[in-house]
């Protein structure tokens, strides 16, 4: 179980993710649709994730 923030709100994600790409897949998000901050810095999709990282996912694609 991963603890992250999604659009500013805390969220528990079932499963494990070794990279940002894998985390986004667990959330059913395309890497084109989200920015991910790891410990306060925006990182690319290939960035490896560890258990102690503070992870924040921001969805950026909305209609309207």
């Amino acid at each position: 179980m991963l603890s992250i923030r999604l659009d500013g709100r805390p969220k528990k994600v079932k499963g494990t993710a070794a990279t940002i790409t894998e985390l986004l897949a667990l959330l059913s998000l395309s890497p084109q649709e989200a920015l991910v901050r790891v410990d306060g810095k925006i990182r690319p999709e290939a960035f490896p994730l560890g258990g102690k990282n503070k992870i924040e996912v921001i969805r950026v694609v909305f209609g309207g």
């Binding site: 920015l35 990182r43 960035f47 909305f62 209609g63």
Partner: protein
């Protein structure tokens, strides 16, 4: 093993300077500094390549307070230091309860910070009904296209009233690639032929304020990243009526393709740029692709009565 680690590190380092990357991979990986430099040059090059803005022109920025238009406002303010222009912003309040108010707040704050005069116009004052009221009468199916007709007309009217030379829209590369595919899927060659980074009317008497798209070379994700790196306060919320099924499907398809084959969106747009001249000729040989004037209100129309007049007539008659 050593080789594998090196390869992985390359994916995480800027291809230009080897600093930690914030976006992309391999040759497209960029650190914050180089991403921001690239982004600025994409906007500058698009403005120059398509002759979007002439020196000292008055440019009206169509500002919603969402990420695209807010980033565009920042970019044009930055660009105005190299290319002198007079900037104003126009915000259309469609009248969508619980959605528009936060974006208006962002727009007001950003305009104040950037010292750009903001003009707010509304559906209610111009057409007598808010979008919420219109959709109560009409039903919510096709709400995006419906709203878009009134919003485009209102932006055009306001830009003309404010004597703007250009009307800048926050359309990005994703919007452009989606538009190309949508018009192919719908068999709308004339509509596709009208699409271009700068849209002008062929009839100069119509006082049509040309629409420009300075972000046309920047992807939606890049726009959001620029906003995040520059601490631009963005309201990331979805419009409650934004359920235009086909565009959402095309958006998802394109994002899947971009994930598997990076550069897909750029290639679609570049292919369109190459074939557009031939497309315009082909369309003109068959039927008109240019804009004309609505005989009822005098606004821009693609032929006969404009979309807004047709829709208002339906609303008045109670037809759905």
């Amino acid at each position: 093993m050593k080789k594998k680690i090196k390869k992985n590190n390359l994916n995480l380092s800027c291809a230009k300077c080897s600093s930690p990357a914030c976006v992309g991979s391999g040759p497209l990986a960029r650190c914050e500094k180089h991403f921001l430099e690239d982004f600025d040059s994409h906007v500058r090059n698009a403005v120059r390549e398509y002759h979007m803005i002439k020196p000292n022109e008055k440019v009206a920025v169509a500002l919603s307070g969402g990420k695209d238009s807010t980033v565009m406002l920042h970019q044009l303010v930055q660009l105005s230091k190299r290319l002198p222009m007079r900037l104003i912003a126009i915000l259309v309040d469609e009248g969508i309860a619980d959605y528009r108010a936060p974006t208006i707040a962002v727009a007001k704050k950003e305009c104040k910070k950037l010292r750009v005069p903001l003009h707010i116009v509304s559906f209610k004052s111009e057409f007598g009904l808010s979008l919420d009221s219109m959709l109560k009468k009409k039903g919510q199916a096709g709400a995006c296209s419906f709203c878009g007709v009134f919003r485009r007309q209102l932006l055009q009217k306001a830009a003309r009233r404010l004597k703007a030379d250009k009307l800048a829209l926050g359309h990005n590369l994703d919007d452009a690639a989606q538009t190309v595919l949508l018009n192919l899927y719908r068999n709308e060659p004339a509509r596709l032929a009208r699409f271009w980074p700068i849209t002008e009317s062929e009839d100069k008497k119509q006082h049509f304020v040309p629409r420009i798209r300075p972000l046309i070379r920047c992807s939606e994700k890049e726009v959001a990243l620029w906003a995040a790196l520059n601490s631009v306060p963005i309201h990331y919320g979805a419009c409650p009526y934004a359920v235009e099924a086909m565009r959402q499907t095309v958006r998802a398809q394109l994002n899947q393709m971009e994930d598997r084959y990076p550069g897909t969106k750029v290639r679609i747009f570049n292919a369109f740029v190459k074939m557009r001249k031939g497309l315009v000729k082909a369309v003109e040989a068959g039927f008109s692709s240019s804009l004309s004037v609505c005989p009822q209100c005098g606004e821009i129309s693609s032929g006969g009565f404009c979309g807004a007049c047709r829709m208002l007539e339906k609303l008045k008659s109670g037809k759905k």
